[in-house]
């Protein structure tokens, strides 16, 4: 029984990464209609930027948490301005391909310069060590990850769903020309939003740097699962992907305990089931 609690908690921790990553993806998909295949690569960049900040600039983890998303976000905005922008109004597929190409380039460049096995990034001193919870040993850093990502998720949700911004964005996805004709500078808004989504990916990257290796392919391995989360949550639904992210972490944790062989598969089984029962995902709007 104790072991079960431990698995639940661990699942929650993983869930917070899924939530954060799929949140960024959901923002970009739901608001901009871009299937951002480069998300994994940008997540990886977040981790690398944190690494550079520390090792080249002596800038610590806490600043990295702020700076890396901004730096990668700006990179994302440049991508949007120079490339993605030209795809508005076209089928999803083109955005997917373009971002896939971008992901290949980014990963390739990083691999070329930093090898594929990765670089070490240490847990910040303040968050080192762990607590014995009785039923498990909880590393402090993991606790921090859960709390922090939950806060970021909720803040993003508020920004998009509870302010006018969300409505502008959704409308702009449907008919950018008309929204622009209402007096909103749609291109700028889209660029900023893409930056926001990308920044969220980078933030997840910084958070994961001390836990996982900082490797060029760290995001490529994750991206498909994160896509699944977004789909299960209902594409483009912010709250849907947050909840699904956390829930999937927990379900995966339980699978790892009861039937570990299936823990990579469970997400896809879940996805098939959810889509069969609710064709637009758990909280999805009609397609």
């Amino acid at each position: 029984m104790q072991a079960l609690y431990a698995q639940l908690l661990v699942g929650l921790i993983n869930g917070s990464f899924y939530a954060l990553l799929s949140l960024g993806l959901a923002v970009i998909f739901g608001m901009l209609n871009i299937i951002n295949f480069a998300h994994g690569a940008l997540y990886m960049m977040g981790a690398f930027v944190a690494y550079f900040l520390l090792n080249l600039g002596g800038i610590n983890y806490w600043w990295a948490l702020l700076l890396a998303p901004i730096i990668v976000g700006i990179f994302g905005m440049i991508l949007e301005r120079t490339m993605l922008q030209w795809l508005t109004g076209l089928d999803h597929l083109y955005g997917l391909l373009l971002t896939f190409g971008i992901a290949l380039i980014v990963q390739g460049v990083f691999q070329n310069y930093f090898g594929s096995s990765g670089l070490p990034y240490a847990i910040p001193d303040q968050l080192r060590g762990g607590m014995n919870l009785g039923f498990m040993f909880l590393p402090v850093y993991r606790g921090w990850v859960v709390v922090f990502s939950l806060a970021v998720c909720l803040a993003t949700w508020f920004l998009i769903e509870k302010t006018q911004l969300g409505a502008y964005l959704r409308a702009a996805t449907e008919n950018p020309t008309l929204v622009r004709a209402f007096g909103i500078n749609v291109p700028r808004m889209i660029t900023l939003t893409y930056g926001l989504g990308v920044g969220l990916a980078a933030l997840a990257g910084v958070l994961s740097a001390p836990i996982n290796q900082v490797r060029p392919l760290m995001g490529a391995d994750l991206i498909i699962v994160v896509f699944a989360v977004v789909v299960i949550g209902g594409m483009g639904s912010i709250m849907g992907s947050i909840i699904t992210g956390f829930a999937l972490g927990v379900i995966e944790g339980l699978t790892k305990y009861f039937y570990p062989e299936a823990s990579n598969t469970v997400v896809f089984v879940l996805m098939v089931l959810v889509l069969l029962v609710k064709p637009t995902g758990l909280t999805g709007r009609a397609a």
């Binding site: 089928d91 083109y94 380039i105 390739g108 460049v109 789909v231």
Partner: protein, 322 residues
């Protein structure tokens, strides 16, 4: 769905004549490969992928259904054929049949599950199904996991054609490809194909005309899946192995790329696309670590500048449908 294909092109009788001319030219070019010194294995491999891409294109380019799991048919047929040839020691023609049958059954099952889903959800459910299958194949004993099924005997087709001779194998693969290709062209230009196109254009309207659209989409899915399986079965003879690569999602992605690079919804596009991508993989293999960067750059350039794909751009330029 916003249009993926270049629909500004006319579909006139002239188009069908153009298609026949290009087809004959293509067949002659391919038939002369063994005499040109071009390396035949490369061409054979490309032919298998070309057939796969054509099958995929049938579904997306004409049925409007973007499958993101087409590798599952390729891989399943590959594994089943390989197993039949190696373990059951069946002759090549039966080995192919086993693979195609497996893909056929799989496409019925997956089609049944996925066909009612719309747009991006269809893509995602096919992706999920193929991922499920990937993990099953990763663990199933008969696939030999990471190592794959290796050293598959090529055997004698119909007891006479010695497939271990590259030239014989080449022509067998070529005939297989051309047959598959012609079937696809016929499907596209058939009464069924017309209905499929109209469903893609406006499904609600098709329903209101009394079409049970799910049935048409299902048939298209099964045809496409089975033909993709045929490609997978042929590929076994070329590569002489069946591995996880063929069921991984990146393979499904590659098929999409091939089709797009060549021109989605064009008849010859997927063939050209397959050749371009396979050539890229072959010739970039020497570029060391820059391979992925170059590949990525090519995709980016393609999407930004020649969105209609090679054939699509040509067809558009001459205002012909190819």
């Amino acid at each position: 769905m916003t249009t993926l294909t270049d629909d500004t092109l006319p579909a006139t009788p002239r188009a069908m004549r153009d298609e026949m001319i290009v087809f004959v030219v293509m067949a002659l070019l391919l038939a002369s490969v063994p005499f040109t010194g071009v390396y035949p294995f490369f061409v054979m491999q490309a032919l298998c992928f070309a057939l796969l891409a054509c099958a995929f294109n049938l579904l997306v380019g004409y049925g409007g259904l973007l499958s993101f799991g087409h590798a599952m048919f390729l891989g399943t047929a590959g594994y089943c054929s390989a197993h039949a040839l190696k373990v059951w020691a069946l002759p090549p023609e039966l080995g192919i049949l086993v693979g195609v049958a497996a893909a056929f059954v799989l496409s019925i099952v997956t089609g049944y599950i996925s066909i009612r889903r719309q747009g991006i959800y269809f893509s995602m459910i096919t992706l999920a199904l193929s991922q499920l299958l990937y993990f099953i194949y990763l663990q199933a004993p008969f696939t030999h996991g990471e190592d794959g099924i290796q050293g598959i005997p090529q055997g004698r087709m119909f007891g006479v054609l010695d497939l271990s001779k590259p030239t014989v194998l080449y022509y067998v693969v070529l005939v297989g490809f051309l047959a598959g290709f012609l079937l696809i062209v016929r499907i596209i230009n058939s009464p069924f194909g017309e209905v499929l196109k109209s469903i893609r254009e406006n499904e609600q309207r098709a329903i209101s005309l009394g079409y049970r659209t799910d049935q048409y989409k299902f048939l298209a899915f099964v045809l496409s899946g089975t033909l993709a399986g045929f490609a997978g079965a042929l590929k076994v003879f070329v590569a002489q192995n069946a591995s996880l690569t063929d069921v991984h999602w990146t393979m499904s992605g590659e098929v999409v790329l091939m089709t797009l690079v060549g021109g989605l919804g064009t008849i010859f596009g997927p063939v050209v696309g397959a050749f371009v991508i396979i050539a890229m993989q072959q010739y970039l293999a020497g570029f060391g670590q820059w391979v992925t960067v170059i590949q990525g750059a090519i995709f980016v350039v393609c999407v930004l500048t020649f969105r209609r794909g090679v054939i699509g751009e040509i067809a558009h330029y001459f205002r012909r449908s190819l």
